[in-house]
């Protein structure tokens, strides 16, 4: 089943892609208009301070020199210090990561579980009124701007009905001894529900429609007709035979979705004041905080490529039609 060399080749491609992405990121930020020094402009900003900053940011070196340093440091795992926060970039990413991952994974799970079941159900309910109403609703949730959905949810469930808190990961004034304590507290999950439901509402469109269209295709297959002829119950046909086969693309989408989960979602994070990686990224780019932006983007790229690779491998197990054996 495994062809060692082709997997190794895939791995080499991964490294190549990482290098290309890192290079593009490096040059992209430096060629963008704006400079990291504009954040420091003030009435008492002196020449000496300016020169010190230029030196500290390494901007006095030639572009090629900066690039080589950047590559070497990245390989060592050193993403440098953030220009604005003066903290190690790695620390900042790791601090923001649990918040992002938990939010998006939660939302993904809710979205996918709901989407798969609803998608299978709607495929079964082909050409009925239920389908006629549901599909436009699903499309509407997918097209509606997340910001708007979030603000409505906030206004309704938080401000009007006061069921959920309106932002952050905890009530004001609460102190946790450690991140783990925070992640295990009820308050954290109370704050998590609204943002993850809103995000799930947006995300469920994809698995639902994907599952439904795959199911419709699979239901046309000969082996389904065969099962019907064999007299199997509809339940058994739908779940055991059809759904399992229709799930493959959804599984891939889920794996990729997990990869994107690491990047957080800047819109949801802004509406619900959630301190995730999405907001951090947007801030880093707009402030021209090169180390932070580079570090965060490379980190995310790495995760995405890894998840992509895992998705590929997963297919090997799930779909016996796929094999990495080279043709003779």
């Amino acid at each position: 089943m495994f062809d060692f060399w082709s997997i190794l080749r895939r791995f080499a491609y991964m490294l190549f892609v990482m290098w290309v992405v890192a290079t593009i990121i490096f040059f992209m930020f430096r060629l963008m208009p704006g400079s990291p020094l504009t954040a420091f402009i003030g009435t008492t900003f002196t020449d000496e301070q300016h020169d010190l900053l230029v030196q500290r940011f390494g901007l006095d070196k030639s572009l090629f020199e900066q690039y080589s340093l950047f590559l070497v440091n990245t390989l060592k795992g050193d993403f440098g210090l953030s220009f604005t926060y003066n903290k190690p970039v790695i620390d900042m990413i790791i601090e923001a990561l649990p918040n992002s991952i938990i939010l998006t994974l939660f939302s993904l799970l809710i979205a996918y579980i709901f989407g798969i079941i609803a998608g299978a159900y709607l495929a079964w309910k082909r050409a009925t009124l239920i389908e006629g109403i549901s599909i436009p609703i699903v499309l509407a949730t997918r097209s509606a701007p997340e910001f708007w959905l979030g603000m409505i949810a906030l206004a309704l469930f938080s401000f009007q009905l006061d069921i959920f808190p309106s932002g952050g990961t905890s009530a004001p004034g609460v102190i946790y001894a450690s991140t783990l304590d925070k992640l295990l507290s009820i308050d954290f999950y109370h704050h998590l529900i609204l943002p993850s439901l809103v995000l799930a509402l947006y995300l469920q469109g994809l698995p639902l429609l994907l599952m439904r269209s795959n199911m419709l295709e699979v239901m046309q297959e000969d082996f389904i007709t065969m099962s019907k002829m064999k007299g199997l119950s509809s339940w058994r046909i739908v779940i055991y035979h059809a759904a399992r086969n229709a799930l493959l693309p959804v599984a891939t989408a889920f794996t990729l979705g997990v990869g994107f989960a690491f990047g957080g979602n800047v819109v949801i994070e802004t509406v619900f004041s959630w301190p995730g990686l999405g907001r951090l990224l947007v801030f880093a780019v707009s402030a021209s905080d090169y180390p932070l932006a580079q570090g965060a983007f490379i980190f995310l790229t790495g995760i995405l490529i890894l998840m992509n690779f895992l998705a590929d491998l997963m297919y090997l197990f799930l779909d016996p039609r796929v094999s990495y054996k080279t043709a003779n």
Binding site: D47, L52, G167, I175, F283
Partner: protein, 555 residues
């Protein structure tokens, strides 16, 4: 005879005609120009103002288009490309925001217009005027307030007469608090800053079971570090965790705080006596050694770069004993009290001394100090900071002026509407960073009935700047025409929706002592501007304004 007369007539007529054509051929058309501004969402009022201004200037015969870009790009263009002949800027919207140290007019009077800061400093407009330079330098040296006021009045008038900037408005600051959680009227207004200031934090009375101030901020907090000037929001925190020798009082003057008293021995020597009985948050006593350390550390610009300009004028310091420290200045500076003694944070030598020593030679500076304890002597103690979420401070009961609340909490809420909703709900009880539409806030206050809104005139201002290195802005008449064409009432009412007052100088009416009476009232109008332009030799041809004869632009 007739033939000769005719020839002479033809000769005279031709000369007149030739002169006419030659003159009109040398009158150059003024180029199309861009007015830089921030995007609508980032600053709706200045953006609207820019659109109105562009329209107004078009009536004068200029071709102006508004170029709305994010702040970093705008700053990059205006600041770093200020003298670049090819790609420099012509007109830009700009602003100065309120800060406590701006209660003394020196910062704006000097740093914004003195020729020494034109090349790389804050005089990015390129205003170079030797007469003004002497005014700015003299006001800095004049210790007697009455004499200094005369000079600052003159400075304001001079800048107005030479149209250094087109001042538009001083915005109104809007702050609100929940009056079911705080006693109505117990907040204190500080000149030019509104009720968001340390005096309010110390004085506001919590009621109905409430014990804390829960404030909000739209921006991220970057650092809580007494050696780092990292941003407006960060300074709200450093201001109350660390003390200063003096503080800016609600009336805008620098008054003793950690110092018991101060005495000017002569123009360049000041003795400051430290209040006795003060202790750091870790229990150790505050001594004159700590005071000297606090002012010495920033003198090393490599270790504490941000604060080093504010101690540059200090020649030396002596410990005179009896808790008194003598500061010997290099030159007399009337703003020393505000710009140094009321600005530098007092830090414990026993805690920060070793840390700063360890930094020497590492290539890092004090801004990279990340520590758990953060020890100061201020009325609030640092407790906890969950990055990008909230900061918690606790009242320091040992302080000589302890607050009435138990805790000062600040939540980071990056979304204006969410912060408003939280405030109405009571989750946040002090609206400290509202950047939305003031009309919306006013309506909410009217609807809810349990909110106290306080509007105050900002010490800062909003203006349109002109790049005076480039023609036609090097002509004072052209600048005056542009500035006077803009109707300031329209600015206040149409762009700022009534949430501002007219501005005519860099000294806000909030600084009632130094603001020149009547400087914000002046005649404006397109007709007035047109007259100034035509008197100066500018002409309109084909609807476009042309330079006077012989003047050309090189761009």
């Amino acid at each position: 005879m007739v033939k000769r007369l005719t020839t002479i007539m033809i000769g005279v007529m031709s000369s007149i005609l030739i002169t006419f054509f030659v003159n009109s051929a040398t009158a150059e058309e003024i180029r199309s120009m861009k007015l830089w501004a921030r995007e609508q969402a980032a600053g709706p009022a200045p953006h609207t103002a820019a659109l109105i201004i562009a329209q107004t200037l078009t009536e004068l015969g200029l071709d102006i288009s508004v170029n709305a870009v994010p702040w970093p790009q705008m700053a990059d263009q205006v600041w770093y490309k200020r003298a670049d002949p090819e790609s420099s800027w012509d007109l830009t919207m700009w602003q100065m925001v309120s800060r406590p140290e701006r209660s003394d007019p020196d910062e704006f009077t000097y740093n914004l217009f003195h020729s020494s800061t034109a090349e790389k400093g804050y005089n990015f407009i390129g205003y170079v005027d030797p007469a003004y330079d002497s005014l700015a330098e003299e006001q800095r040296r004049t210790m007697d307030p009455a004499a200094r006021k005369v000079l600052i009045d003159q400075a304001q008038q001079h800048l107005h007469d030479t149209a250094a900037n087109a001042y538009l408005v001083h915005p109104l600051l809007n702050f609100a608090y929940d009056n079911t959680q705080f006693k109505d009227g117990s907040a204190i207004e500080q000149a030019g800053l509104g009720i968001k200031n340390i005096w309010t934090y110390l004085n506001i009375e919590p009621i109905n079971g409430n014990q804390d101030i829960v404030a909000q901020s739209l921006d991220e907090i970057q650092a809580i570090n007494p050696f780092f000037i990292s941003g407006g929001t960060d300074s709200w925190i450093t201001e109350i965790v660390w003390d200063r020798l003096l503080r800016i009082a609600p009336d805008g003057t620098a008054q003793p705080w950690a110092a018991e008293s101060f005495n000017w021995v002569n123009e360049q020597t000041i003795d400051v006596t430290l209040r006795s009985g003060m202790s750091w948050h870790d229990g150790q006593p505050v001594t004159s050694e700590d005071v000297i350390f606090s002012f010495e550390a920033p003198m090393d610009a490599e270790i504490v770069p941000m604060y080093s300009p504010f101690v540059k004028n200090i020649e030396s310091m002596e410990d005179l004993g009896n808790n008194t420290v003598r500061f010997n200045l290099k030159s007399a500076n009337a703003a020393f009290l505000t710009s140094s003694l009321a600005k530098l944070n007092l830090v414990p030598k026993h805690h920060y001394g070793p840390m700063l020593e360890a930094l020497k030679g590492t290539g890092n500076n004090a801004e990279t100090l990340i520590e758990e304890k953060r020890i100061g002597s201020g009325p609030f103690k640092f407790v906890d900071w969950r990055l990008r979420e909230q900061v918690i401070l606790e009242a320091n009961s040992n302080h000589f002026n302890p607050p009435k609340v138990k805790r000062w909490i600040m939540k980071e809420v990056p979304n204006v509407e969410a912060s408003l909703g939280m405030f109405r709900k009571g989750e946040v009880n002090f609206l400290t960073d509202y950047k939305g539409d003031p009309t919306v806030l006013a309506n909410i206050v009217a609807d809810d009935g349990d909110i106290t809104l306080v509007k105050s005139i900002d010490v800062g201002f909003q203006y349109m700047a002109m790049n005076q290195r480039r023609a036609p802005f090097d002509d004072v008449n052209f600048r005056r025409a542009l500035s006077l064409a803009i109707d300031r009432d329209v600015m206040v009412n149409a762009a700022w929706n009534g949430n501002a007052v007219k501005a005519g100088s860099h000294v806000s009416p909030a600084l009632s002592y130094y603001h020149k009476q009547g400087i914000s009232e002046f005649e404006t109008g397109v007709d007035l501007a047109k007259k100034i332009l035509s008197d100066a030799g500018y002409t309109l041809k084909g609807g476009r304004l042309h330079y006077p004869e012989g003047v050309s632009e090189k761009y």
